[in-house]
Structures are given as C-alpha cells and as structure tokens.
Symmetry: C2
Subunit: 181 residues, 2 copies
C-alpha cells in the first residue's frame, strides 16, 4: 500500500515524463494514471506507473513509465479464459530499460534486483532496450524489467490484459494497488 | 504505382514527421517505411505512410503518417482465417485526423473526398481525433480517414493485419504498393 501523498506525487512525476517525451494523454487518462507499488511499499525500487489506452477482448495498449532504477518485478501471464496467455511487446520510447527473460544469464547484468528481494528474481537473460528497440515476450514466460539511471518510457502492445491473473515469483506481491487515505 | 523518386521523397517526409513528434524508429524501420499509394498514382491526395512495429498472429502495432489532407480511402477488414476481422484503434499523436464510419452523416464534414473519387466514399459519420484522442473500430466496419491541414501522426493498435485481405469501396484500388524503377 502507498499513501495518498506518494500516489499523487508518483502520478505527477509520470505526467512529467510523458510530457518530456512528447506523449499527449487526455485529461481523463491523466487523472487515472495507475501507480502500482505491488503491495511492497517501496515504490522507488519496486513499482510501475501506467497509462492504459485500451484493453478490449482482443487488444491492449499501454504506456509504462519507470522512474530511475524502478523495477517491475518478475512475473508471467498464464492462460486465461481459454486463451494461451498474454503476448506482450515492450517498445522503449525514451530512456533505457533492462528486460530479463529465461535463457543464458548475463554475466554482468545491468540491473540489480531490489534489495532484500534478490531470491524472487530467477531469470537473468538480459535484453537491453533503447529508444526504438522492442522485444516480444511469449505467453506465460517469466520476465521482469528495470529502468536505467534516467528512468524510461515504454509502450506495451499486447493481447488483452488480465492483470489480476498475473503470477509473481514473490509471494508477497499484490498486483491490485491499495492507497491508504 | 509511384516512381522511385516519389517513393524516396515520401519516405523522407515521413521520417521528418516522426522526428518532429519525437518518435524514434530503428534504422531498419526507417529503411522500410511503407508508402501506400493504393495504385491510384495520386499520393498527395490518396495515400498513407506506415511504420510497422509488429504484426504477430495476435497483435499488430503501427505508426501511420499522413501528409496534409492525405486520405486513406474507404475500406473494411473482413473475417480472415476464422477470426472475426481486424479490430483496430487509431490514436492521434500529432496533428488532426478526421475519421469516417457508418452512422449519422456529418452535415459539414471537415474532410473532402479526393477529387473524382467522391462516389467511392459512402460513410460520413465524423469522428475528429486530436492528439491523445482515439477511436476503436469494430471488425469489418467501413471507414476512411483524412489528415487536417498540418498532416497527422496516428498510432494504430490492432489484431493481426492482413492488408491484402482489405476490401476497398473503390474497385481501382490496389493495396500492395508498386514502385516503378
């Protein structure tokens, strides 16, 4: 859970990133920027800010904003409702992002797992994404990512999102945000 | 068909639009910008420039670049391979775009049908998209769009594209570009 003050500050910071990159969002989208702290109450290290453009039965599109070194923790998207699980593509728009998937682990990974949670990061094959670069994840494959020192803005193109179905390696994670008034 | 010279000039103009908007593409994407003249040889009035980011079995994402008053002619995406037809969302990133779908026709439409081809434009319900605004088309529904006086950059998020299956109202249209050497 995060406090209302942390939530408001993170939303504003996300807006600042988007306007720096020249991405225009509507007033309604701006008011609804999602701040995910994954229930860990350490938003600066484990967290993600999201603008959801659309999420229909078939197609989903979002902008992801990551503050410097902010991490989206390891998870996968299992099959849901007879579909083979979400297929997602991350396209870096600004900054730098380090994406980890299964495969040969990086000898000297650019990202560091958040302090005290290292055991919940199990895939270490590194994909570095700079502006204009993208990577498509196979459904139900483990992945996590971290922004570089400047933060990052990443477009996500995917099949339908069922965030509540995501399976995180860290059992303490809660995907649905809770804001404490 | 268009000449090599027209093709190269349109690609360069599309690159200029993207860099003005701050959208970064890779060298490979830049080299492969698609220039669609729809076989009519009047690219300034009927045409479209495209960067295809991905087109998998399930998800497709593109940037569309329209020069001032350039028109993507009326068409629909029929069912293909047992799927109900492409579902697509247009999100305006820059400029202004006038999208036409079936429904109550606009009394004073902002777009003009390309000269001599007015009879091939049959749906006139107007949706104006400015930066940050978007519209989702139902599969197999007729639509066409035209940029405003400044041109436009539009993101398209959709299910898989089968461009060669598109059905255009104008029987003279050929979707697959031909460049004359």
């Amino acid at each position: 859970m995060i406090t209302r003050e942390q939530f408001v500050a993170a939303q504003q910071k996300a807006r600042d990133y988007l306007s720096r990159v020249g991405i225009v969002i509507t007033p309604a989208e701006s008011a609804n920027i999602e701040v995910a702290d994954f229930g860990l109450n350490e938003l600066d290290s484990t967290g993600l800010e999201l603008v959801v453009y659309l999420n229909t039965e078939r197609v989903c599109s979002k902008e992801l904003i990551l503050f410097p070194r902010q991490t989206c923790p390891e998870h996968r998207h299992p099959p849901v409702a007879g579909e083979p699980g979400k297929e997602e593509t991350f396209r870096c728009r600004w900054g730098e992002v380090y994406l980890y998937v299964s495969g040969e682990p990086a000898l000297h990974p650019r990202a560091r797992a958040p302090h005290g949670r290292e055991h919940t990061y199990t895939v270490w094959h590194e994909v570095v994404l700079r502006p204009g670069e993208q990577f498509t994840l196979q459904p139900n494959s483990l992945h996590w990512f971290q922004a570089g020192d400047e933060g990052a803005v990443v477009s996500e193109f995917s099949t339908r999102s069922w965030d509540e179905a995501d399976i995180f390696t860290d059992p303490h994670i809660r995907r649905t945000p809770e804001v404490v008034e």
